[in-house]
Structures are given as C-alpha cells and as structure tokens.
Symmetry: C2
Subunit: 332 residues, 2 copies
C-alpha cells in the first residue's frame, strides 16, 4: 500500500520562519517533559509543541520570535501541543500561563501532543486517526464533526505494550527468563549484553534499575529488530505481539468513532509517527501494523508525515484560527 500525503493544499516546503528548542527532559513523569520546540510558521503565527514549564515556555517563544525577526505583537495564534493533556483542567492551567504572555486578541489552543502529530500528517485538518509509537504509544482520532477518542497512551505500567519501551522491556525480560530457566534460549541474550557492554544476564538487573528513564530502555528496539531479522523466535514473537497491540489501539479508536462508516469501508487518514513505526529494516513494524488494520478497514489511508509534530501544531493553529475568523465574519 502506497504511503502518501493526504492533503496538498499547503505550500511545500512549508514556510517555517524559525524554530527554537529549550528545556530538559524530566524522567518518566507523564506530562513532565520540558523540551519545548517553538516553530514560527509564516509571519503571523507562533506554535509550540510539547509540555513546557512556564519559564521555559517564555524563553523559547522569545527565542523563536527573535530568530524569525518578529515579536509578540505580530503573533495571531499559539497552539501548544502538550503530552499528557487530557482533561479540561490541564488545558485551563496552561492556557492561563499563555494568557499571561500574550494579549487578549491572540488565539490560544492547547491540545494533547498526539493531536499535533495527527495534524502533521493531515496538513492541520483534524480528521482520521494517528498512531504514535516511539518510547510510548498512543492512538488518537477525530471525526469530521469534532468527536474524538484515544486508546493507550497510559504509560508502561498501564499496558502500552506495543511501545518502544514495551518491546525492549519484553526483550530484557526474555533474557532474564532464559537465564533463569523459565524461558527458551534466545539470541537476544548475547546481542543485548554485547550492546550494553555487560558480561552476564545477572548484570542486566543492575543496569535496568540504575536509571529510571523509559527512553533508555526503548533505545534497544533496533537490537530486537535485528535479532528477529536473524531468525530468533523469541524476538519475532515480541515484535508480532507489538504489531497486534498497536493495531488494536487504532481499531479501538476507529470503532468508537465510526471512522470506517457502517460498511467498514469508508476512507480515512491514518497518520503513523514514531521511531518504532519508522524502522526502515526488513522487519518493518509500521508496515505490519498497516497490513493488520487494512484487513478490517480497507479504507484506512496510511500517511507518514513529511514534517515534525511541532509543525503539525503550527498547522493546527492555522486551521483553527482561520475557522474562527470565518465564523466571526459570518457573525458580523
């Protein structure tokens, strides 16, 4: 199945005027990542993705505006796409921060970062489903009339099993189980120990708990893929189960929103984002997930975004801003 952009309405390449990045990552806390990417798109819009502490937010916005040769007075709309934002109370708290920085006439939008990832593949239109599988995983969807649903995205303790962390933790577990005599021998043992510079499976325990970063564990996914490609059965089983988990998240969202229509054949965009889905190797997790989904929903239209999620947030703000302008014009 070909992977192509869903909309070509906007200029290519997009007119990104400036970008700025600031902050530091806060281990594991959902909604606590402090990296801020500020993208200045076109002259009049400032868009930011990822959770930000208040000061980091101010700093990176000033930085991006300065790089774009612009200032606050030129900003028309800001979209902040924040991981872990699910409740109106989360949104309100962040809107309050933003409102302290920007004057009343600036439109402000705060959304879950998965929404920005969807927008990065649909040129800002909120319709269809996005599947993100990086360190974590989430599926998030919208109908054209504005209903939304999500699945997964609850972190590693709560069953994000197809995520990079989930895949790698199962691989580490397979090494321990083989060592204990609780599981079959696997090539993962020698490959992972060599990658980490460890001399025995016992040492994996110390390595695992020495640092609570989920991303550090998820970084082992390529090792699992290479073992699977070399024919290791344990690694293949882990990846096949991850494919099923990821497909299940998408199906749950599509089903709840009825994106596929009554006959299950309607067309809808399926945006695929994240390192786990981007692996350009023989064992292609993203392609396998797509094959699984296509069996049930032949209208699912896969999109690999050409732009980063931060630009998706920018497009989202642009779309929302334009919609509001049109509505206001009708009211007048």
């Amino acid at each position: 199945m070909p992977i192509m952009p869903f909309s070509d309405a906007l200029p290519d390449p997009l007119p990104v005027l400036a970008r700025a990045v600031a902050g530091c990552s806060n281990h594991n806390s959902v909604g606590g990542v402090l990296f801020v990417h500020a993208i200045v798109l076109d002259v009049n819009f400032l868009y930011i993705t990822e959770t930000a502490a208040r000061e980091t937010l101010e700093q990176v916005m000033a930085d991006a505006l300065s790089k774009s040769g612009s200032n606050r007075s030129a900003v028309r709309a800001v979209c902040l796409a924040v991981s872990g934002v699910n409740h109106p109370t989360d949104q309100q708290r962040i809107l309050t921060w933003l409102r302290d920085i920007f004057p009343t006439q600036v439109k402000l939008y705060v959304r879950n970062d998965a929404v920005a990832a969807l927008a990065s593949g649909t040129m800002g239109k909120l319709h269809g489903c996005v599947l993100i599988a990086g360190t974590g995983t989430i599926a998030y969807g919208f109908t054209e009339d504005g209903r939304e649903a999500r699945a997964a995205g609850a972190g590693p303790v709560l069953g994000d099993w197809g995520s990079g962390y989930g895949i790698a933790a199962l691989a580490l577990t397979a090494v321990i189980r083989a060592h204990d005599g609780r599981g079959p021998h696997t090539m993962l043992t020698s490959t992972i120990l060599q990658t980490l510079g460890l001399s025995s499976a016992d040492e994996l325990i110390g390595w695992t708990y020495a640092d609570p970063s989920w991303a550090r564990i998820a970084a082992l996914v390529p090792v699992v893929v290479s073992c699977a490609e070399a024919g290791d059965e344990v690694a293949n089983k882990i990846l096949k189960e991850a494919v099923q988990e990821l497909a299940l998240s998408v199906k749950a969202v599509v089903q709840r929103l009825g994106l596929c229509g009554a006959d299950r054949k309607n067309s809808f965009p399926l945006v695929m984002v994240g390192g786990v889905l981007e692996a350009n190797q023989r064992w292609d997790i993203g392609r396998e997930v797509m094959d699984f989904i296509s069996k049930d929903y032949p209208g699912a239209h896969p999109i690999r975004p050409k732009v980063e999620p931060a630009v998706g947030a920018a497009l989202l703000a642009l779309n929302e801003f334009m919609k509001e302008c049109v509505q206001e014009a009708y009211r007048r």
Copy 2:
C-alpha cells in the same frame, strides 16, 4: 496437601530476646530498602535482615542489643540478609561495614534476603526451595551439598509477573483497556475506582504515576482477588496467569538443582512466604501454586513459616556458626 513445619528440632517458641526496627523505605531501588529488623536470639547471637545503610545498621544493632540486656562483646555471629545481594562484590561491601562494628572473632554472614526466608521455614537449614510473592517475587533454592539457584526477583520491568505488583498492574491495565475499547468489560473498573476514590478510568493514569512506589500498586491485590471470587473473568485470568508464573519460577529452580531427584519424586521443602501466597480467601493463590507444582513434583513439601524472615536469618547464623565450630573442633 497439609502445610506443616519441616523441622521441629528447635524450641517452640524460639528464644527471641529482643527485636528492633529502624530506617525508612527507599522507593523502588533494588537493594535500597533501609528497613532494618534486628533480632537477638538466645544470648549469644545477633541477626539482622534486610538491606541497611551503614548508620541505620549500627543504630538498630545497638538498640536490639540494649533491649536484650546484652552488648557487643556477647555476640558470636551476625547474619545480614539483604535484598538484591547476588554478587560476591555486594556481599564484600556489606561484610566490610559489619567488620568495622564487630571484632574479629564474631562470625559474619551476608546473604540474599530470600535465603533468610527459606531458613525461616526450614529452621535454618539451607535445603529446598523458597517462593516469595509479596510486592515482588523470587524463587531461591539450595541442594544439601551447597549448590544454589534462583529465578525471577528481577523486579517489575524484568518480568516478575506473578508478584503483587505484577498482578495489580495487570488489573489496572485491564481497566484502561476496557475503557479504551481494547479489552473486555470488567468488574475491576468499578471496584478499583471505588477503592482509590477516583471517578473515571482516565484518572487512573494520574494516580499511577503520582508515586513510583511499587508497594502502593501491589496493595490492590485483595481487590483483584475479591473480583475473581465474585466471578469476574478478567480478574480470574490475571490470577491464573500469576499462579502459572509463580509455579514456573519454582520449577526452574527445582529443575536446575535437581531437588526432585532423577525420578522427580524426591521429597524437598518448599517454603512459601509473602502476602500474595498468604491470602486466606476462597481464591487461594498459594494453594493453586502448590497444586501446580505438585503435579510435576509430588515430593514438594509445602511449608508456611511460623516465624518472620528476620528470625530465619537468625536461625541461619546459628546453623552456620555451629557448623564452623564443629569444623574448627575437628581441625584442632
């Protein structure tokens, strides 16, 4: 199958002269728990279980000795049973601390805390297998000629799936999956939300990551058991899988050590310790695990210790001390 003590050689009740507890628990770090239980057993022995920071160690030992109306000069042997001690280097570090506190003639022993739990059921003799299932889980075994083996005990990231944490995390996951439309409806949803005082499954995510303590999650095991007893299929499946995981750990140890003999029928003690195995409810996880093991190893002799693991460490020190005395007497 009756559950009875394996040995009646020692007086009942045991002559515990004093006990002291000190320290604070250090979330999640394997080997970082600072609770110290000091037990003074008989006049001449001081025994301590659990990992201890050096100062806590000194403080609690002084406290226990004072309570027993004794002092350092009366101590003949010390056994420190420490969670996470697996390598000779770990042992050596702690032995050095102890050696700074006690004079040369005092015998010092440092072991994994699972070894003390085994000794608590075998009256100090290192033979057979112990299965611990509390917040975490581990199986640890010894042959009479001193070979040892373990399985599991690698923490929640590395597949301790039958542990209290493992059971409860799967129950929380089942709630999220039902909410997402990725899994079947389950009674766990209403029961867990009510127990935690939450109003929606979405709020579980915040609750889960608000505190990294594994024990806080494991505390939900009784809720899972009650849902299983009320007939909930999801809860029953989680408990049945936990039973298989726990039995598998024991079987791996028994198999590697050949505790069951060539015909798989030899008798050996199987000590069962921890909250998950002690549940006196209709759904009795410990009994189910035992039934599973008995099918393969009819000689497995279940023991529920009457004394705590700290007393097991005491018995271990007594046994080792007496063995060394006998050996020294032969040498003279």
